[in-house]
């Protein structure tokens, strides 16, 4: 990756062009169902366990912070409400994004990069098969679907972890904790989080595929591509997250 400004622009342009190609290729028949299922299973298998393990302490930290904050403010009855809101709106899409990019994206990027430097991608193109259609679209769709499902998992595990720490370790009131769930949070929060996860999954899949398919320079090139794909995905994810959150607050009326 060159450091010149035109190089950076060219890479962004190529990345965006590939994203458009992916969108354009999604409706093309035949849909690669087999590849899609294999990839979805693969991405899920490398992400489920780390996600669950990360979301427990993540939910606990939020619960601890909010537990002590609400006590300081004298609003213990809102502890449940606040921690559900934090987990649902921000924590779960971010945890999902980090794991999809860190575990799923790197695996996709390394796989495609290894194929690229072994000339497999060229061979595929010469055999008249479009790698975007055959390889990239199923991977992007798989990472989107798995991101949405993982987001649900993180929400559940995070909220359960929060409950455990707040009620059992900080001696909160179970009834108050549960009852205050819906005072601030609403169903649209969950939808918004799922949409975020969907977009994050798409970004992670597209960036990983782009970096993998443009890897060059032997095995080291694949390592570099994986590294860059994680960095680029994280940067894009946090920017996207900010924009989507800002839009969400403008569009959806908030409670209270």
């Amino acid at each position: 990756m060159s450091l010149s400004p035109t190089g950076a622009l060219r890479h962004s342009g190529n990345l965006f062009a590939m994203a458009l190609d992916v969108v354009r290729t999604i409706p093309r028949r035949p849909f690669q169902a087999r590849e899609f299922i294999q990839q979805a299973w693969f991405v899920a298998s490398v992400t489920i366990l780390p996600t669950a393990l990360v979301s427990i302490p993540f939910g606990a930290v939020i619960a601890l912070q909010i537990g002590s904050l609400t006590r300081q403010l004298g609003a213990q009855s809102f502890a449940g409400a606040a921690s559900v809101l934090a987990v649902l709106r921000e924590a779960s899409p971010i945890v999902t994004a980090l794991l999809i990019a860190g575990a799923g994206g790197t695996a996709i990027c390394a796989d495609l990069g290894a194929r690229k430097i072994r000339d497999e991608i060229d061979a595929m193109q010469v055999l008249g098969i479009d790698p975007i259609h055959r390889l990239v679209v199923p991977r992007v769709l798989a990472s989107m679907v798995v991101a949405v499902l993982l987001n649900g998992l993180v929400s559940v595990v995070g909220v359960a972890g929060g409950y455990f720490f707040n009620v059992i370790l900080q001696n909160g009131t179970p009834g108050a904790y549960l009852a205050s769930f819906t005072t601030l949070a609403q169903l649209s929060d969950l939808w918004a989080a799922e949409v975020k996860a969907l977009v994050f999954g798409a970004i992670a899949g597209i960036v990983a595929s782009y970096k993998g398919l443009t890897a060059k320079g032997g095995p080291k090139g694949v390592g570099d591509a994986v590294n860059q794909s994680v960095v680029i995905t994280f940067m894009l994810l946090f920017v996207t997250n900010f924009v989507m959150t800002a839009v969400y607050f403008q569009v959806v009326p908030q409670r209270g």
Partner: protein, 314 residues
């Protein structure tokens, strides 16, 4: 019958570095051509440009009346179905066994039933001598087997044009000889247009109808085998004889004075430099079990006459 490839004024560069410029040649339909050149002269780049994997800066490549340098991506995929390409390391799909690798193009592009696919795949595997290795993964077999499997995969869609990227690199001389025989047999059987990119002189002497030589960022010469093998062009002579004396240096080209001095020394040492005195090595012919089409029949007769004359001369 194979397809003619007409290349005109082709120029390719990466950034400011020109790989080769103004390459013009015609690969005649159904014939075997070899592209020679020292390492790093962009032979593989030339091959990738022919199938549209790389876009040249200038020039045109015409196949069946279509210029593939200007085709849209979608049409390019259609034209590529005419091609079979054998990549340097076979470029097999690492996650599939040999059978699935070779069946892959059929499963993607045709609506053949599994039993039909099985028949075609086994036929091609038999052709390249890989029967019994169907279940092996590409990582478990030798380089020579990978190359042959790559060739079988390139053959399953019955291509009109087959491109070979260094079929002999990394193989022992015996396997190279077998592979050359296989290439000649294949040409007699399927009648496609062949282009072999290599720097193996022995193969270049025996196998092709036409030879081209890339050096110093341009096509030095392209023409019938006899013409190049008996040529007095210094670069061609040096390369075909594999010697150090001549314009080709270790890193790059040499300066003119040194080349002249070296060539003069070579002349003193009693080597022949008179025009047309180069010996023409015998041509590799299709094996005995292969029915020869008219083209190969003519070549065999010409070869036979040439040999008889040599024997008589001796």
């Amino acid at each position: 019958m194979g397809v003619e490839i007409c290349v005109e004024g082709l120029t390719k560069s990466f950034g400011h570095q020109v790989i080769w410029q103004d390459v013009s040649l015609t690969l005649p339909a159904g014939e075997v051509s070899v592209m020679l050149g020292p390492s790093g002269t962009g032979k593989s780049v030339f091959l990738k440009t022919l199938v549209g994997l790389l876009k040249p800066e200038r020039g045109s490549i015409t196949i069946q009346g279509r210029d593939i340098t200007r085709l849209r991506e979608h049409d390019l995929y259609e034209v590529r179905k005419l091609f079979g390409v054998l990549f340097q390391d076979g470029a097999l799909f690492g996650s599939m066994n040999l059978y699935d690798n070779i069946a892959f193009p059929l499963r993607e592009h045709t609506r053949k039933s599994e039993s039909q696919i099985r028949r075609i795949v086994l036929e091609k595997m038999d052709m390249v001598g890989l029967i019994g290795a169907e279940g092996k993964l590409p990582g478990e077999i030798s380089g020579g087997m990978r190359k042959r499997a790559g060739l079988a995969r390139a053959l399953v869609l019955d291509p009109e044009i087959i491109l070979f990227d260094e079929p002999d690199s990394g193989l022992d001389p015996v396997r190279v000889a077998y592979l050359n025989q296989l290439i000649v047999d294949l040409n007699a059987q399927i009648d496609a247009t062949f282009l072999i990119v290599t720097h193996d002189i022995a193969s270049a002497r025996q196998v092709p109808d036409n030879i081209g030589l890339l050096f110093r960022r341009e096509l030095v010469m392209f023409g019938p085998r006899e013409e190049l093998l008996t040529s007095d062009e210094p670069v061609v002579r040096q390369f075909l004889n594999g010697r150090m004396q001549g314009p080709i240096g270790m890193a790059e080209e040499k300066d003119a004075a040194q080349v002249e001095q070296e060539l003069a020394q070579l002349g003193d040492a009693g080597h022949t430099t008179t025009p047309g005195s180069q010996e023409l090595p015998p041509r590799l012919l299709p094996g005995p079990g292969i029915t020869r089409p008219a083209r190969w029949q003519a070549i065999a007769e010409r070869e036979g006459a040439l040999r008889r004359r040599e024997v008589a001369g001796a």
